[in-house]
């Protein structure tokens, strides 16, 4: 039985994870050593993760732990800004390839 397939192992879903510590230093370590677009996209984004990140909507600083990231280009948005994009079904301002911010904001 694999976790998540029913049974007592479903209790793994009760495990809560808290992102703590300075994770940015580890993101710098991302290089094009992987096999897919994940690594390529993230390598491009690593500098942004490490430095100050800017929401393209209001041009204000956004902290990664409070941001909504475009799943294609990882551009960070404030939650409120992402809500505006979602309400207008607008595409990501950076890559213009993703337009389902409503999915990312479920439960927020």
């Amino acid at each position: 039985m694999s976790a998540g397939s029913g049974g007592l192992e479903d209790l793994l879903k009760r495990l809560r994870l808290e992102i703590v510590g300075d994770f940015r230093q580890y993101l710098n370590a991302l290089e094009q050593t992987g096999d897919g677009s994940w690594e390529v996209a993230l390598t491009e984004k690593a500098e942004a993760f490490a430095g100050t990140m800017e929401c393209p909507v209001d041009r204000e600083e956004v902290r990664i732990e409070e941001s909504v990231l475009c799943p294609i280009c990882y551009t960070p948005y404030h939650v409120d800004c992402a809500k505006i994009l979602a309400s207008r079904s607008e595409k990501c301002w950076k890559c213009e390839r993703f337009d389902r911010f409503d999915l990312l904001l479920r439960g927020r």
Partner: protein
């Protein structure tokens, strides 16, 4: 600074970019992680431990997760002792227990249990010897004291040899069963507590459903396991019921001159009680 494993890096990014993250916290979602990264949930959990060790994530767990650790450990142990699973399958189960153990801060002690399938011949021989002792007891009044003593000495001496090779395996089985029954009782109590809580609240919560349903399937899995063990033992010791039924009488007759008979009968009675209690557990709603 880097992370040792590529998997840990991928997990970290996945957590940071997960849309279901609420602030800094997120519940572990095996299905979502497997969909995003591929692979098995247990591999992801293992990779997360490195993140925990680097101080990048912190695990918060409730007692349900600790109970899951005990459940997996007890199940793996009993399946190993009863030979219900192959060694590599048991090793995989133990790996899961080890991963959870690292999260909940519990060590996984080395298990040195003996396996029932390796001692089936000895258990059958034990069954034969116990059958002889039963017959001896029944025929006690039909023969002279001298004859009885002579035959008893001979049967007990043969039984001593057999008991030597079955004592350890029965002891392993009893210990593994005791651990499983303890976890099973904890599951039953916790489930009753949750159902009580639901009644007091007057409405249902998704979390309560998840936990109570998980506990129920855990209890049922244990019950099926106990039924398998019951069948296994009755196959190896065909006169099991007969021996258990006369255990007290046999013990008082032979314990003084052959304490090993008392030991083996106590082991069998204890195993029988645990099996019976587990199989006949009433779950209520």
């Amino acid at each position: 600074m880097s992370l040792e494993h590529e998997a840990s890096r991928r997990i970290l990014i996945s957590l940071l970019t997960d849309p279901h993250r609420s602030g800094r916290t997120i519940y572990f979602d095996p299905d979502a992680l497997s969909a995003r990264l591929g692979g098995q949930a247990w591999d992801h959990l293992e990779a997360m431990i490195e993140l925990g060790e680097k101080g990048l994530i912190k695990f918060h767990f409730t007692k349900e997760v600790e109970l899951l650790f005990r459940f997996i450990r007890a199940r793996a142990r009993l399946e190993h002792v009863a030979g219900l699973k192959e060694v590599d399958e048991v090793a995989d189960e133990l790996r899961k227990a080890k991963i959870l153990g690292r999260i909940v801060g519990r060590d996984l002690e080395v298990i040195r249990d003996q396996r029932v399938p390796d001692h089936l011949e000895a258990l059958r021989a034990l069954s034969v010897q116990l059958g002889k002792l039963l017959k001896l007891l029944e025929g006690k009044k039909l023969v002279s004291r001298e004859v009885y003593e002579m035959v008893a000495a001979s049967v007990l001496s043969q039984t001593a040899n057999v008991v030597q090779s079955t004592e350890q395996v029965l002891s392993s089985l009893r210990t593994a069963l005791a651990e499983l029954v303890e976890v099973m009782n904890a599951l039953i109590q916790e489930r009753a507590r949750i159902l009580g809580l639901r009644d007091r609240l007057g409405f249902n919560l998704e979390e309560l459903d998840l936990v109570s349903n998980s506990y129920l399937s855990g209890i049922e899995e244990f019950r099926r396991l106990l039924q398998q063990i019951d069948r296994l033992l009755r196959g190896a010791i065909p006169n099991w019921d007969e021996v258990i039924g006369s255990a007290q009488k046999m013990s008082s007759e032979f314990a003084q001159r052959a304490p090993f008979v008392d030991v083996v009968l106590k082991q069998m009675t204890s195993i029988n009680e645990m099996l019976k209690a587990g199989i006949e557990t009433e779950l209520g709603r």
